[in-house]
């Protein structure tokens, strides 16, 4: 679907102010499952850092695999984004935003369902 103009503007602004490491996520927008793209491994490390990829996971390659798609879906669910499993603009923008350093692992363990509250 088309992204509303306001959302696009907000996402772009957020990416622009992010730190050097996470700023690189902007080039991963719309990367597809099965792709091999430089920078995907950094995204996996980001998701591991915040509890979405297991701590003992060793395959942090640049391949966008099914595990990453699932991790992105969990992230979207916990952060109140539309759950697509895709690296859409709003997801990448939020991943690029500054945040609290506390892992989201407790949200995953709690099985967050916002509609249930």
């Amino acid at each position: 679907r088309n992204i509303p103009e306001a959302s696009t503007a907000k996402a772009t602004q957020t990416i622009d102010v992010s730190n050097a490491t996470w700023h690189n996520f902007a080039r991963l927008v719309d990367v597809q499952v099965g792709s091999h793209v430089s920078g995907v491994s950094e995204l996996k490390r980001y998701l591991q850092r915040f509890g979405y990829v297991k701590d003992d996971a060793t395959d942090l390659s640049d391949v966008f695999d099914g595990h990453l798609e699932y991790a992105i879906s969990l992230y979207q669910q916990n952060l109140g984004l539309p759950i697509t499993g895709r690296l859409d603009t709003s997801t990448v923008a939020l991943m690029s935003s500054p945040r609290c350093g506390v892992s989201d692992a407790h949200m995953i363990n709690a099985g967050v369902h916002t509609t249930a509250r």
Binding site: N19, L79, G101
Partner: protein, 191 residues
């Protein structure tokens, strides 16, 4: 709202807090930092029957606040400008660490221009105090306990989601006025 595993909480109605004398900002008046935190603690104290008192003795304080840079020995290294801004530990650990590399501002200093990467200290303090008290992250963007915060933005008012979470842990302060809370559309829809 969510909680940490096991729903840890404090079992006292009076908690002390102190600022590190060695790990502090050199560009910000410590009185300004103290005032910002006093307001942040006051927001939570207005909701639950727990009071917060600042003391000078950092070692003896229940809650220990400091500004740290890079790897500071707790397994959660900071990463420079933006990225991760701060972290705090679940009860009854009591440590609250802020990234010294950030451009912290108080009292809406970012409104008159200034740095594009300025971060409002009071907003982050309010969020991290929620962690100190036992709250995890919220999925509601309007909530103080939402994990992400934009630079040059102030978000200090507790929402219904924040308050509902903390009330389940500690019960209500008798002076709590529910009509003073910020209510998101989601909160209203979910009763």
């Amino acid at each position: 709202y969510t909680y940490f595993g096991g729903k840890p909480k404090w079992y006292r109605d009076k908690l002390t807090y102190a600022f590190s004398e060695t790990h502090k900002l050199d560009y910000m008046n410590s009185d300004d930092v103290r005032k910002a935190f006093r307001r942040s603690f006051g927001r939570w104290a207005g909701v639950i029957p727990v009071s917060f008192e600042e003391i000078d003795d950092y070692a003896k304080a229940d809650l220990k606040i400091g500004f740290f840079a890079g790897d500071h020995g707790d397994g959660q290294p900071f990463d420079g400008v933006l990225g991760t801004l701060a972290h705090a530990f679940a009860p009854e650990n009591g440590r609250l660490h802020l990234d010294a590399a950030e451009t912290w501002v108080v009292d809406d200093d970012f409104k008159g221009g200034g740095s594009t990467v300025a971060v409002d200290l009071e907003s982050v303090a309010t969020h991290e105090i929620g962690h100190l008290l036992g709250l995890g992250h919220s999925s509601q963007e309007s909530a103080v306990m939402y994990p992400s915060v934009r630079p040059r933005t102030k978000k200090v008012d507790l929402t219904v989601d924040d308050v509902a979470g903390i009330l389940k842990l500690y019960g209500a302060n008798p002076r709590l006025r529910l009509d003073s809370l910020t209510q998101s559309e989601d909160s209203l829809q979910n009763g």
